[in-house]
């Protein structure tokens, strides 16, 4: 299957600092999705990006899809303790319908 890498793997920030996670695919993606998994919980869908260069915002979260549709980023402004969790990007396989391959994930810890 295709490879979707995320960096960093772990990030510790002080509450109020910004946070960014980057997602890189080995192949061009038709779209990319982001999920959040709280500690002990299950992944929950956050957003989907479809267009090249697309930027979407959800309150303090900004999602971006690269021009070449091979990378994406999630930026959180002024982190809060409720942002703690693991953030995954996920992209569909071109030859496998809507079977989504998940990135390696970035675990965010927010220090109060």
């Amino acid at each position: 299957g295709q490879q979707v890498m995320q960096i960093p793997q772990y990030q510790h920030v002080q509450e109020g600092e910004d946070f960014t996670t980057y997602c890189n695919s080995s192949t061009t993606l038709s779209n990319i999705q982001w999920y959040k998994q709280r500690p002990g919980g299950h992944p929950v869908f956050l957003i989907q990006l479809v267009k090249s260069g697309e930027v979407k915002k959800q309150k303090r979260l900004t999602f971006q899809f690269g021009e070449a549709k091979k990378n994406s980023s999630l930026h959180i402004t002024a982190t809060q303790t409720t942002d703690v969790g693991t953030y995954f990007c996920a992209g569909p396989g071109w030859d496998t319908g809507n079977q989504f391959y998940f990135g390696t994930g970035t675990s965010l810890t927010v220090i109060p």
Partner: protein, 115 residues
């Protein structure tokens, strides 16, 4: 009214045993999946089912046998459990197969520990 429900939540068993995990979704979705999450939180697709038919098996050992009696249920049976099978197993569903803008709804997971 949990959308995707899995049982059991925890499963502790000895090496060599056989165990099953059940999953049900009440969303009316056509497509269901099994994902395995290892200790490093890497989420790996195992199986995809559409309308109770197996679509994709991602090179999973044949000790793992999924069964879908109807499109709302996807169970996972594991034979001859090995230490390396210890992980969290997530069931998920999406509305339709073949639509690349579908989002996944996950169950709460089953933590399997093989001793």
């Amino acid at each position: 009214d949990t959308a995707v429900s899995q049982t059991p939540k925890y499963l502790v068993t000895q090496m060599g045993n056989d165990k099953s995990i059940k999953c049900e979704q009440n969303l009316g979705h056509d497509t269901m999946y099994w994902y395995k999450q290892d200790s490093k939180k890497f989420l790996k697709i195992m199986f995809s089912y559409n309308n109770k038919e197996l679509i994709i098996n991602e090179t999973v050992p044949n000790r793992f046998s999924p069964k879908s009696p109807d499109k709302a249920h996807l169970n996972l049976h594991i034979n001859s459990l090995e230490l390396g099978d210890s992980a969290v197993y997530f069931c998920a569903s999406s509305l339709r197969w073949g639509q690349q803008n579908e989002k996944l709804f996950f169950g709460s997971g089953t933590q399997l520990s093989v001793l």
